[in-house]
Each structure stands twice: as C-alpha cells, then as structure tokens.
C-alpha cells in the first residue's frame, strides 16, 4: 500500500490540509494501491486557526514510512511547530524514506526547520517567501515547485493545484482530471485572480513580525533569522 500521510498539528490552517487531502483521498478509486491518511502526535482533537478541531486517523508511530508526506502550513501554529522536536523528527525520518515530501503554504518552513530545503528551490505563502532563505533555500515565486523528492506549494489554496499535479505524477493526467471533476475545481474567483500589484504586503509583514516575536520567543535566533527576511 502506498500511503500518503498528511501531518496534523495544533494551530494549522485546515484548508492547507483539507484541499489536497480531498483530492488525494480519492486517488484509491482510480488506483487501489494508494491510500491517504492523517497522522498526528496523538488521536486527540487538535485545534486549528479557525473555530474547528480536527482529529487524525493515526499517530506518527503508526505510519513511520509513508510513501508520501504532506505538511500543511498556517500562521502562529506553524511558527510554534518550528520548535516542536517531536514533529520535526517525524518529518525528517519520514522524508528520508518517502518518494516525495510536500508542503503547502508555510508548511515549507517546517521542511526548512527539519533541514530538508538546504540548497533547494522552494516556495511558500507569498508573505513568507523570502523567509525561506533562513533555511538555506532559494525562494521561487511559483504556484508549486517540484524538486523531485521535495515539492513545495504556494499559500493555502495552492495545495489544491499541487495535489492535482501530484496525482498526475503518481498516476496519470487522466486520473488527475477525473479527481478534478470530483471536487468540481473549475475556479471562478468573483474578482479574478490576485492582482500582485496590489499586494497588502505591509499589513501581512506587520502581522508576521508580531507573530514571530510571540511564537518564537523561546528560539530568538531562529525568530531573528526569519524576521530578517520578511
């Protein structure tokens, strides 16, 4: 069985996890050798950055060597995760054997903290893009960056695009298109795509800086390295 394990941790952004999970959980209908699961430190409900708790299906110990690993991002919760040694150990050891380790949004900071991005091209949420340099990565402004063993996606909703890419990589373009019909992903943002000339950068940088100061007070060196690149 090829297990695609999604990592759940406190405070994450659920859409980072659910977007790609909703796509890849259906992969088994097209190829029964695949399964998707959600792993966490324990099977207790985990709070998130929205008024909803999520409960994993398995623990880290239950799935030591997944075929693929997907690490979602978030805001404060993801910054806290950068010093969560139990989580980083799991990501590091699973990634060592996985076919691919993927991240969504600031999940790439977790890959960076686990030492997986050194010398690689990678992406993340636009507001944290330059902060990837703190982990020796080369930031790339792209919807997703596929470096083979490491695959990083841009912010939140980019996880859906990345998951379709991954489905095609694991099986075929036809299968990915079938999954796309399942979630009726035919995007029609009411005001069009993002207007990158009107990025609310200052506001996001202010929020990110405050969040780094608060959540990484116990790791001031890391906090300073991240903040230096915002």
């Amino acid at each position: 069985m090829k297990t695609i394990a999604f990592v759940l941790y406190p405070g994450l952004t659920p859409l980072d996890l659910i977007g790609p999970l909703q796509v890849l959980a259906s992969l088994r209908h097209a190829d029964p050798s695949f399964e998707a699961t959600v792993v966490a430190e324990s099977l207790d409900p985990v709070h998130s950055d929205i008024p909803l708790s999520l409960t994993a299906e398995r623990t880290f110990d239950d799935v030591p060597a997944p075929y693929a690993l997907v690490v979602p991002g978030g805001q404060a919760g993801t910054l806290r995760a950068l010093t969560n040694e139990r989580l980083l150990d799991y990501v590091r050891s699973a990634a060592a054997r996985a076919e691919v380790t993927a991240s969504v949004c600031t999940g790439s900071l977790i890959l960076g903290a686990a030492g997986l991005l050194e010398g690689r091209e990678a992406t993340t949420h636009w507001s944290f893009l330059e902060a990837l340099r703190a982990f020796g990565a080369m930031p790339v402004s792209r919807r997703w960056v596929d470096e083979g063993k490491i695959l990083t996606a841009a912010g939140v909703a980019a996880g859906i695009d990345m998951a379709l890419h991954l489905a095609a990589r694991f099986t075929s373009e036809d299968v990915a298109k079938f999954l796309q019909f399942g979630i009726e992903y035919d995007p029609e943002p009411p005001f069009g795509g993002l207007d990158w000339s009107a990025t609310p950068r200052e506001l996001f940088t202010t929020m990110a800086t405050a969040s780094i100061r608060e959540e990484l007070s116990g790791a001031p060196e890391l906090g300073a390295r991240l903040a230096a690149h915002l």
Copy 2:
C-alpha cells in the same frame, strides 16, 4: 454580532465546509461585527468522507438565529442527512431568520429537503444538478446562484468562489480581495479548468444511483424522486 454558522454533520465533504470557512473566518479582521462558527448536533467529533474527524465549536441550540447559515454537501453522508429531522429542523428555523442561507455542493439538496428551494433557481454539484427538480427547484449550471435569501454554489471547490462573493456582499469588494490574498487564491489547475465535453457522467451517475439506493432505503419515495432526475 453577525454570526456566520457552518453546519457540520456526519459523513460530509470537509472541503465544502473548510473552503468557505477559511475565507469567512477572517472577515472579522476587516469588520469585527462578524464572526464565523461551526455548529453541530453535539460537540462530539464527527466523521467525514475522508480519513479525518471534525469537531464543532457550538451546538445547534447554542446558535438558534445566525446572521448567515452555510450548509456543506457530500456524498453518502449528505443523502443520509436528507432524512435527519433534527438537522432539517435546524436549517429550516435558522433559515427563516437568517439574512442568507447558503449551500455548497449537494448541501443544496439539504436546503431542498428543508423546503427552501421551492420555485427557486439553484445549483449543486454537476452530477446532481437535475436532482434539484425533486425539490421543486429550477437547476442552473452556474458557479453560484444568488437569490438573495438563498445562495447555492456548485460542487465542492465552488464554495471558495461563493465565499468571496458573500464576503463582498457583506462588506466590500476590497475586503473580499484582501481575504483572497490571505488564502493566496490565484488558481492554477495544472491541466486547466474542467473540460465539460469530457464529463465522466456515466460513472458519477452509477455511483450516485447506488448511493441513493443504499442511503435512502428508509425513504424510498424521496430516493425514487432523486434517482429519476439523475
């Protein structure tokens, strides 16, 4: 406080709920008179159609009169919900007082079962579109259909587009665009949008028919009405 209540029930498709919730939960940053919450029959973890359980923040009784209601869809779980009187009672009574009652995907079938779609234009997941006639609605193939008090969205991922529309309706286009930057919703499906000339209709109809037979065995008249329109 203007409360936007998202309805959680067993077996639903989490992306139907999380997509719009991730957008609208941030509305309070732009306008503190709004809050988003998740309501369910109880505060126990609820299983879904993917390997993940979700826990609501409040019960139906806690939020009898939300400003807005959002009803997600799904597959088997949503068909079962069509005969869940406790859920239908809540949707009916909340909708009677709400500014808007919205659905994502087959969540519109729940609105239909609650008697809210009679004589209205509405949409749903493409594979169930004609089934809306079973509830006296006029099916429309559109990303979302805004009839004022009732707002229905197409399948799964359409909930994100609908939520941005709703954010603009509640506040302003500028606020909606700000929220769009938050979730970096700048869609780039790897193989483009859906090719509607290549819809896997037969396969989806077969699955839906089997699901209706199984989940609505206790309500054969409703099951037959739905199946007749697939």
